[in-house]
């Protein structure tokens, strides 16, 4: 027995690492090498097209700038309102706190195309708020810009809703880990609650704020499903990749995708290095110089604001949660009822959900097929990802190169999913190694890439702070060999993390749109179906499918809740 486990332990590390490199790392890096290897094609199509010259390059620059503007403004908005909300969730106790937490987390598990559609009808049609207020049309049109930043309003709030949880949850976790006694000390030393926040909590939670912002930014940059539905005339980088890929302008799409991968690396690496070595905090130590009288004014203002304006901090973030998350979902749910048998305005049954599902359009058939595909994909990719993630998490925690591995794992998390899909297709597909064709298997391969980091992060969260090493060492001295110890002690202790991670990965797979669009071939998944329905103007069917997706993810969320409670 000891011999076999010795052999196993010698094999398992290289095997895990190899699978990781082949299934996760390679696809997330391949795009760069593709662009590099086929540079002449890229050059020809992007910079020196005989007909349009470098028009594509100018397009790319324009799209990138627009994407950045959108993502940066969404993140800025998240930070301004997300940090106070994170503070409330971390420090205050109030009835309904659990519900609020769930609501904030919802966009993490919600299929984005369904959510995008919900937001769309809420703001731009009479079925939404406009109708409630008795207006003849929606409150805003699809392309109404937000002042100053000049980004379409609907697009902006979709991105805010989808990135909000990254900031709130990361900062909340960070604040929870900060000992409350520092704040109490500061208050008893005479600082108002706002001054305390600025001087104590803000500097201490800066690493959390930073990583939350990076995740949010990356998410916004890579968002495809909802963006395709609400973008209207504007195009973001990840949507552009999907469009070009479907028009077979592969070199252009690859070039854009490669740029995004590069950008992801450039953002993640310095941040990781800074946070890892605690340099951010050291930087802060040299506090910026503020003139004394200005400082006094600031402190006075903080004292005033702490007393009088405190409710703003409580009310505004709540209002944002209601507006960007709750209302769209409510609107979709109510619309399903309204549209059930017929279009409420024209009265025609062709505009009803029943007709579109079971009538001549027969969307029910494609829906069942898509459900089957989606669930098979989610199950298989989650299972394979789990098999890689468990040993990988142990390697990350226990080997000296673990930190490097963990940083590498951040890359698939922040690469725009459409780049990832393109990368997988080019690597495994007919134009690359030609191992498999687009279709369900390629979807599975793609979903594994982003599932592994999700599960690993969950496992690591459960692992750290549970004192596993101590329990395992105890088990060893009690007579268990290395394998027995892991099996009987460590795995049961991190079970919660494994289950949570798997459910997150399952829902993520269920809702993924950007990458799936590129690699799916003819096997359509549910979120893709929603996009197709919207583009085919089958609004009632889209309504029903969105609700169906939302319900699926709500069930998942409830399961996570039960599992993590224990």
């Amino acid at each position: 027995m000891s011999k076999t486990s010795n052999l196993l332990s010698k094999l398992i590390v290289p095997c895990t690492l190899m699978t990781f490199v082949i299934l996760v790392l390679l696809p997330s890096l391949y795009l760069l090498s593709y662009v590099f290897l086929r540079w002449d094609e890229v050059w020809y199509e992007v910079f020196a097209n005989p007909i349009i010259g470098d028009e594509k390059w100018r397009q790319i620059i324009g799209i990138l700038l627009f994407s950045f503007k959108l993502s940066l403004s969404a993140v800025a908005f998240d930070l301004i309102f997300g940090i106070p909300l994170a503070y409330i969730l971390a420090r205050k106790k109030f009835p309904g706190k659990g519900l609020l937490e769930d609501l904030v987390t919802l966009p993490l598990v919600i299929p984005t195309s369904g959510f995008g559609f919900a937001t769309l009808i809420t703001w731009t049609t009479t079925a939404g708020i406009g109708g409630l207020l008795g207006l003849p049309s929606g409150i805003v049109s699809l392309n109404t810009p937000v002042p100053i930043i000049n980004v379409p309003f609907v697009l902006f709030i979709v991105h805010v809703a989808l990135t909000f949880p990254y900031v709130v949850r990361t900062v909340e976790t960070k604040i929870e880990s900060i000992d409350i006694t520092y704040e109490i000390a500061s208050r008893t030393l005479g600082a108002s609650s706002l001054s305390t926040f600025r001087n104590i909590l803000l500097p201490l939670s800066l690493p959390g704020i930073f990583s939350g912002a990076v995740l949010a930014f990356a998410r916004s940059l890579g968002e495809t499903g909802a963006t395709m539905i609400v973008s209207g005339v504007s195009t973001t980088a990840s949507v552009a990749i999907v469009r070009w890929a479907s028009e077979f302008k592969i070199p252009t799409a690859a070039f854009m995708g490669g740029l995004l991968v590069l950008i992801a690396w450039i953002i993640i690496l310095p941040v990781e290095a800074f946070i890892g070595k605690g340099r951010i905090r050291r930087r802060i130590r040299g506090t910026p110089y503020i003139p004394a009288n200005l400082m006094r004014k600031l402190i006075e203002f903080e004292r005033f604001a702490s007393r009088r304006l405190f409710f703003i901090k409580d009310i505004v973030p709540l209002a944002i949660v209601v507006v960007v998350i709750i209302i769209p979902i409510a609107v979709v749910l109510s619309s399903v009822i309204i549209y059930w048998s017929a279009d409420p305005y024209t009265g025609r049954i062709e505009g009803g959900i029943l007709y579109q599902l079971f009538g001549p359009p027969n969307y029910f058939n494609s829906l069942t097929k898509a459900t089957l595909t989606s669930i098979i994909v989610a199950l298989i990719s989650t299972y394979i990802a789990m098999c890689i993630s468990i040993p990988l998490s142990f390697i990350i925690e226990r080997r000296w190169y673990g930190r490097i591995l963990r940083t590498t794992l951040k890359v698939p998390m922040i690469i725009p999913s459409s780049s990832l899909g393109l990368s997988v297709m080019l690597l495994w597909g007919p134009s690359g190694l030609n191992l498999i064709d687009s279709g369900i298997w390629m979807i599975i391969l793609t979903h594994i890439v982003f599932s592994v980091p999700v599960i690993v992060e969950s496992i690591i969260a459960a692992y750290e702070g549970s004192g596993i090493e101590m329990y395992e060492e105890s088990a060893r001295t009690l007579g268990a060999d290395a394998y027995n110890a892991i099996e009987t002690v460590s795995l049961p202790l991190i079970k919660g993390g494994i289950i949570t991670g798997s459910i997150l990965s399952f829902t993520r797979s269920l809702g993924e749109t950007g990458a799936t669009f590129i690699v799916m071939g003819r096997d359509i998944t549910i979120p893709v179906l929603v996009v197709n329905m919207v583009e085919g103007l089958a609004v009632p069917a889209a309504l029903f499918t969105s609700t169906y997706l939302l319900a699926l993810s709500l069930i998942m969320l409830a399961i996570i809740r039960v599992v993590t409670k224990r």
Binding site: M470, E473, S474, R476, T477, L478, G479, L493
Partner: protein
């Protein structure tokens, strides 16, 4: 049943020398305490014996067999962590039967052994409880039962009472010691609490900065400390810096600053050497009138502190130095007050003389 021998064991963590050529043997059935301040290398030593760490140099023998490359599960040495590390997802029964189960004994034997041992530690009724439902004392008994069931011959205890409150700690100490002795186990117990070590140990090893400073029975360590550090760490004392002015057959005379002169029986060094004189607090007596003999100093009481059954006085001597005296409270004994002038006396036999340490006196006696 089991003895442990370490020969020249050395361990480095990067540039830090955690253990420097440790030589130590632990006898069968002995209760050994390793005592030292934080960072002395106590835990490292314990983990090396357990097999959780490998020494960089040197050899570890258990029962005369070299075990350097033997994995922890084959050493019969059970490691008990500060909070006992009872597996939180297993019941008392599952915890105690853990060793037999992973060793794949027959179900019947597992059942018999486990229930027998649970009865022995009086936990038969709580067999289905989870660790977090038990009191600290019960948890300790479960941990011990688990170790015994796993066939432990050596018990490695890493600050076993660290997480508990002071009162409980004192009770559990004696309970643990008697259980260990009953079972005939060899115990190696790491602690930074000198009181704990003095109370439970058959022998104490004083560890400092990776080196063994002294090994001896609790009484030896207390009455005959080999260094300023040991004296300060175990029990504490008054320390004075001085110069030897005279040596004769009966001892030496040390001059302190301000013209004070102390007579000691021990002889260390030569005339003119800088030395440190150390006197335990309980050996410093306070009287109203001068006594015959040496070491009668005049002082004024500057502080009075109650320490349970005794009183500690701080007395300022003529040369401005302070000396502490601990006096047992007896009956309705008279308590001196602040400002009282007293004669401070101590027997030359109780004055320890040490050479002046290279790194300065403070470095040796700094609060640890």
């Amino acid at each position: 049943m089991a003895n442990v021998r370490l020969i020249n064991v050395t361990k480095r963590f990067g540039r830090i020398l955690a253990l420097d050529r440790i030589n130590l043997s632990v006898m069968d059935g002995e209760y050994l305490c390793i005592l030292g301040p934080t960072g002395a290398g106590k835990t490292t030593l314990l983990r090396i014996i357990a097999g959780l760490l490998e020494p960089d140099e040197g050899e570890v023998y258990i029962d005369g067999k070299r075990v350097n490359s033997v994995p922890p599960e084959k050493r019969s040495a059970v490691y008990m962590f500060q909070n006992f590390a009872l597996f939180p997802h297993m019941t008392v029964w599952q915890n105690v039967s853990f060793g037999p189960v992973v060793k794949e004994w027959s179900p019947e034997r597992i059942r018999n052994v486990t229930s027998e041992i649970l009865e022995m530690v009086r936990l038969g009724e709580r067999r289905d409880a989870y660790p977090h439902e038990l009191s600290g004392g019960m948890q300790q008994r479960v941990a011990l039962a688990r170790a015994i069931a796993a066939g432990a011959k050596i018990l490695l205890l890493d600050e076993p009472f660290g997480a508990l409150d002071a009162r409980l700690r004192v009770n559990l100490r004696t309970q643990l010691r008697s259980l260990v002795k009953e079972q005939g186990l060899t115990a190696i117990h790491v602690t930074h609490d000198q009181e704990e070590a003095l109370m439970v140990a058959d022998r104490i090893v004083i560890l400092r900065e990776g080196r063994i400073e002294q090994i001896g029975s609790p009484q030896e360590i207390y009455t005959n400390p080999k260094s300023i550090f040991v004296m300060s760490f175990v029990g504490g004392a008054n320390f004075f810096d001085g110069v030897i002015s005279h040596i004769d057959r009966l001892g030496s005379t040390v001059d302190l600053r301000g013209g004070l002169r102390i007579r000691a029986h021990s002889i260390t060094g030569r005339v003119g050497d800088r030395v440190v004189i150390a006197i335990r607090r309980e050996n410093v007596h306070l009287r109203k009138s001068r006594m015959r003999g040496f070491n009668n100093l005049i002082g004024e009481i500057t502080d009075v502190m109650f320490v349970g059954g005794s009183i500690e006085y701080v007395v300022r001597l003529e040369n401005g130095m302070s000396i502490m005296s601990r006096v047992l409270l007896e009956g309705k004994g008279r308590v001196l007050k602040r400002g009282d002038v007293v004669i401070v006396s101590f027997h030359p036999r109780d004055c320890h003389v040490f050479p002046y340490p290279e790194r300065g006196l403070l470095k040796e006696i700094e609060a640890i």
